[in-house]
């Protein structure tokens, strides 16, 4: 008798799941939080690069440390012959070794991780501090990234801010 009652009641235990919140987070409409309700990602997250040109000494260690050959040091017009790192997101594996190798700690991986564009060119860009403007947004606007193109043998900035704003 007890077994019959137990078996009859058992399926109704599923009702307790009706009141629970789903695991799925509707990004970007909802904030992704951890088990204590703190927002993610945190500062340690390895996302899109930012580089402070005021501190950068053009040493090229980030390009040497990169396991994927994603960083190329290029000479940009108007920088007095100094070379700046250009990151290709087709190659980057987000290991953060460039950040570790940087002697001035100007190269940094932010918590932004999503870039959307129909044009493939913005996925190879010059990291500048301007990317910090997007830190609160979910998608990085590729139209505002700093892009460089080669014209008449010289690398020329064709999009975005050629000089980063001072912070």
């Amino acid at each position: 008798m007890g077994d019959v009652v137990r078996k009859t009641i058992r399926p109704f235990r599923a009702l307790r799941f009706l009141g629970r919140k789903p695991h799925t987070v509707r990004i970007p409409h909802e904030q992704h939080n951890d088990i204590e309700g703190e927002p993610l990602p945190t500062g340690r997250y390895r996302g899109i690069h930012v580089n402070d040109w005021d501190l950068c000494i053009s040493c090229g260690l980030c390009a040497m440390a990169c396991p994927c050959d994603a960083i190329e040091m290029i000479e940009v017009e108007g920088e007095g012959g100094k070379k700046r790192p250009e990151v290709s997101y087709g190659r980057c594996c987000f290991c953060g070794f460039c950040e570790d190798a940087c002697p001035k700690k100007c190269m940094h991986l932010t918590s932004n991780h999503t870039m959307l564009d129909t044009d493939p060119r913005p996925f190879v860009f010059l990291p500048t501090p301007g990317i910090r403007e997007f830190e609160k947004e979910y998608v990085v606007q590729t139209s505002k990234l700093c892009l460089v193109e080669e014209r008449d043998g010289k690398k020329v900035v064709v999009q975005g801010k050629p000089r980063p704003r001072k912070q």
Binding site: E36, L40, R44
Partner: protein, 369 residues
């Protein structure tokens, strides 16, 4: 159709929803029964061992976790342990304890995914939804500790890359409490189900002698009653100081393999709690040359590690200088996924193919490597 018009040849995978990753089977069927099975690997071949010879010692740390996607930390730890042995580096105790916590969290995540895969293979689709939901909490923890959700690139020669955030141990304990609260529902959903009994008891059994002769390791070997675990037999990291048991089962069938994994989740929770409690203070990494000038003296070393799938071995040879001379990886899925699987599938129905693969917890990136 075969030559005798009695057998049918089909290709099962790599896009079949029942297959566990990017590999395939060529099955020869007689009706529903598999008469001959051939594994078709190669979809994920990236020549890791050759790539490692062309990258510096430190750059390889970003490469090795890709050898096993659900349980990546064992690769970083084994590679680092081999280098530390050649260099004679003393790893700080705190780093050993952090490594233990990371490795065990990774084991829980991998086992939850594996149990979910078994549930999916027998048609209990609620189980993979639930287990992957809990696994996500563990990925959140990894994100806060290492900055990456799947590939952590956190353990490296000499210790770990960063120290734990202050509130991280508290969060780990909360996640473990949460998983422990959920486990009884998983038990009643999966192991008390009549479908599970009918499909998994007596499925593809093997005995200890056969398993050892075929190079079966890890939970798949312990399911036959052999108490062999590198964490106890050849301790690494902080396992020597911690108190835990090695779960075994006798029958060696699909159910035994699932139950061993189930018990290991409980043991891993126990290990993590102890490791966090006994966490020593001090440095989290030994003094090593900077990554760009990292050189290893000539020599060779073998590191062994117990992953959630079985035994991982890394054999590293150095001839001095910035690059490894040779790195050989011995992964458990190569044996489980090719020879063992081909022999076990014979005589079972085609519907059991996905389930037997799931109970062996085969990891295709490790087969191809």
């Amino acid at each position: 159709m075969g030559d005798d018009f009695r057998t049918t040849k089909i290709i099962f995978g790599p896009q079949h929803p029942g297959i566990h990753g990017n590999f395939a089977f060529r099955l020869e069927l007689e009706g529903d029964i598999v008469r001959r099975a051939r594994v078709v690997p190669g979809y994920l071949h990236r020549a890791f061992e050759k790539l490692m010879e062309q990258r510096t010692w430190m750059q390889n740390v970003a490469l090795v976790p890709r050898i096993c996607v659900p349980d990546p930390d064992v690769n970083e730890a084994a590679y680092s342990m081999a280098i530390e042995e050649i260099m004679g580096l003393e790893v700080p105790r705190r780093a050993d304890h952090i490594r233990t916590v990371v490795l065990e969290l990774s084991r829980i995540a991998s086992h939850l995914m594996g149990l979910g895969g078994m549930g999916g293979a027998i048609g209990l689709y609620t189980l993979p939804m639930w287990t992957n939901g809990e696994r996500d909490y563990i990925l959140d923890l990894f994100e806060q500790l290492t900055g990456g959700r799947v590939y952590h690139i956190y353990t490296w020669p000499g210790g770990v890359r960063w120290d734990m955030p202050d509130n991280w141990p508290r969060k780990v304990n909360k996640v473990l409490d949460h998983i422990e609260r959920q486990l009884p529902s998983y038990w009643s959903l999966f192991f008390e189900s009549k479908v599970t009994d009918a499909r998994m008891v007596g499925l593809a059994p093997y005995d200890p002698d056969w398993a050892i002769a075929h190079g079966v390791t890890g939970p798949n070997l312990r399911a036959t009653g052999v108490k062999y675990d590198i964490r106890k037999d050849d301790p690494y990291a902080a396992y020597e100081d911690l108190d835990f048991e090695i779960p075994t089962r006798k029958s060696g069938d699909g159910m035994a393999r699932a139950l061993v994994r189930w018990d290991e989740v409980g043991q891993s929770i126990r290990i993590i709690r102890q490791a966090l409690e006994q966490m020593p203070s001090g440095p989290y990494r030994a003094k090593t040359p900077p990554p760009l000038a990292f050189t290893v003296p000539p020599g060779d070393a073998l590191a062994r590690i117990e992953s959630s799938k079985g035994e991982y071995n890394y054999y590293v040879v150095s001839k001095g200088g910035k690059y490894p001379h040779r790195v050989h990886v011995r992964g458990p899925s190569f044996t489980h996924g090719i020879d063992v699987l081909e022999q076990l599938l014979r005589g079972y129905e085609i519907s059991d193919t996905a389930l037997i693969t799931a109970t062996l917890d085969v990891c295709p990136p490790d087969i191809d490597r």
